[in-house]
Structure formats: structure tokens, C-alpha cells
């Protein structure tokens, strides 16, 4: 439960959103991703770790460098989508149950 908003929070940060957007162009190493961003390379690595934990990106080692890509299966995105879908749905459901009080004390 503690991690339920992880993917959402991951994309809610502007810098991480920017990194995620850059990865749409294809797999890239950290050095490439850091270019043109107003943050340090270690900071980019930290952001990538958050994106990875959220299931939004995956990484692999190529020689001496680590290459990142958008999770090819998109599972982080769909899980986050379902998470917010069910949050909104259950709130609607609760409202529907309690809007009609006729049988509440049955």
C-alpha cells in the first residue's frame, strides 16, 4: 500500500517527467540524458532510480555504461493508471452507497 502512488509521484516531478520524455526517443545512457538538463549527472541517476522503482523505466549494462529505456512492457504506467482508476471508482462507489440512506439502518 505504501508504494501505491509511486509511479504517479515519479511522473509528478518536472525533472523526472523531462527525463521520461527524453527516453521516448529511445534507450540512452545517463550521460546522454543529463545533457541539456539543468541538473547534475548524479541527480539524473537518482531520478532514474525513482523511475525504475516505479516500474516506468528499465536499465541494462552495455560495456562500461548503463543504458536506460522506457519499460518495454509499460507495466508501471498501466499499474499507475489502474491505481488512480480504482481510487476514483471506489470514491464514486462510496458516494453511491451513502447517497441513498433509505436502507442504511436495515
Amino acid at each position: 500500500m505504501a508504494n501505491q502512488y509511486r509511479a504517479l509521484a515519479a511522473l509528478g516531478d518536472n525533472t523526472r517527467r523531462g527525463i521520461f520524455e527524453k527516453l521516448r526517443a529511445g534507450p540512452q545512457p545517463v550521460s546522454e540524458l543529463a545533457r541539456g538538463l539543468p541538473v547534475s549527472r548524479p541527480a539524473v541517476s537518482q531520478h532514474l532510480k525513482v523511475l525504475k522503482d516505479a516500474g516506468l523505466v528499465a536499465d541494462r549494462v552495455e560495456g562500461t555504461r548503463r543504458v536506460y529505456q522506457i519499460d518495454p512492457r509499460g507495466l508501471g504506467a498501466i499499474r499507475a493508471w489502474l491505481d488512480q482508476f480504482w481510487t476514483a471508482s471506489l470514491e464514486n462507489y462510496r458516494a453511491a452507497v451513502e447517497s441513498d440512506s433509505r436502507e442504511n439502518d436495515e
Binding site: 504517479l8 509528478g12 516500474g55 519499460d71 509499460g74 493508471w81 489502474l82 462507489y93 452507497v97
Partner: protein, 156 residues
């Protein structure tokens, strides 16, 4: 290279001021009253959602013109304790008879009413839709856009 990501099930709970029987009935027979109306798959506006009250029962939507679109089926019908659906809408929101994720809902009596616990599991099975997911991610107005809007609202 095979990169495995197996997301945890989505788990949610909400407590409602009603007996389990009533909570169960509104969740199932009354699904039309609370379902997000723009989240359906038919070409015409949604009129009704039907879950046939038995194991093996169909779960489908009815459009305003009477057209029917399958969503999945009922796997377990244990009123008022538990219901399990086979959610068979894939990542593109299309019904796929070969695609099954499970949606389990438990109704637990409490002093204040009923705690409704929802679990949507087997999300790794969306993996087969990789190409479709990437297409949606890459498209304008795809998931990331929706997610960011939601995150902004949640953090406001």
C-alpha cells in the same frame, strides 16, 4: 535482453456506511450507478453495466442503442462476502477472451458499516500488450499525460 517487471496488485479499500448485503448489491447489481461513465468500450454512450449473479456469469456493458460489449465474467459470486471478476479488457481497452486479470472484492463487516477491499491482480499479464502500450505512451494524450494531470491534482 529480457527485462522482467512484475508489478504488485493494485489494492484499495473503502469503508461504507451500509451492511455488507447492501454494499455487495450496489457494487454488483448497482454498478451502473457508480462506474466512471466515460470509462467504457462501446461506441455509443453507456446505458447499463450487467454482472450476471452467478459463477460463470457474463459481465458486460449495454449501450444506449442496446448494443452489448463484453468485459469479462464472474468467477466467484459469494454474496455478501466476496465477488471475483475476470477483467478481460486489455491495455487498449478491448475485450480479449484470451486475456484475464482478476478483480477480487471482499466485503468485511465493521462497526461503522462495511470495509470494501478491492484487489486487481495478475497485472504482469498486460506484458503481452507491449507494442500497444508503447504506442499509447508515445501518442499525444497517452497515459503519462493523464498520470501527470492526476499527480498534479493529488499533490494540490
Amino acid at each position: 535482453m529480457n527485462i522482467q517487471i512484475n508489478p504488485a496488485p493494485v489494492r484499495k479499500s473503502v469503508t461504507v456506511k451500509a451492511k455488507p448485503e447492501r454494499a455487495f448489491d450496489i457494487f454488483t447489481a448497482g454498478m451502473t450507478t457508480w462506474w466512471l461513465p466515460d470509462h467504457h468500450i462501446g461506441q455509443v454512450p453507456l446505458k447499463e453495466i450487467v454482472a450476471e449473479p452467478r459463477p460463470g456469469g457474463r459481465w458486460y456493458e449495454v449501450g444506449e442503442d442496446g448494443s452489448i460489449c463484453e468485459w469479462g465474467k464472474v468467477l466467484v459470486w459469494d454474496r455478501p462476502n466476496r465477488v471475483v471478476f475476470a477483467w478481460q479488457l486489455n491495455a487498449a481497452w478491448k475485450y480479449d477472451p484470451d486475456f484475464v486479470t482478476e478483480l477480487e472484492v471482499r466485503f468485511v463487516p465493521e462497526a461503522a458499516g462495511t470495509r470494501v477491499e478491492l484487489e486487481h491482480r495478475n497485472l504482469d499479464r498486460y506484458g503481452a500488450d507491449a507494442a500497444e502500450i508503447r504506442r499509447m505512451i508515445d501518442s499525444e494524450g497517452g497515459w503519462p499525460t493523464a498520470l501527470v494531470a492526476f499527480a498534479a491534482a493529488a499533490n494540490a
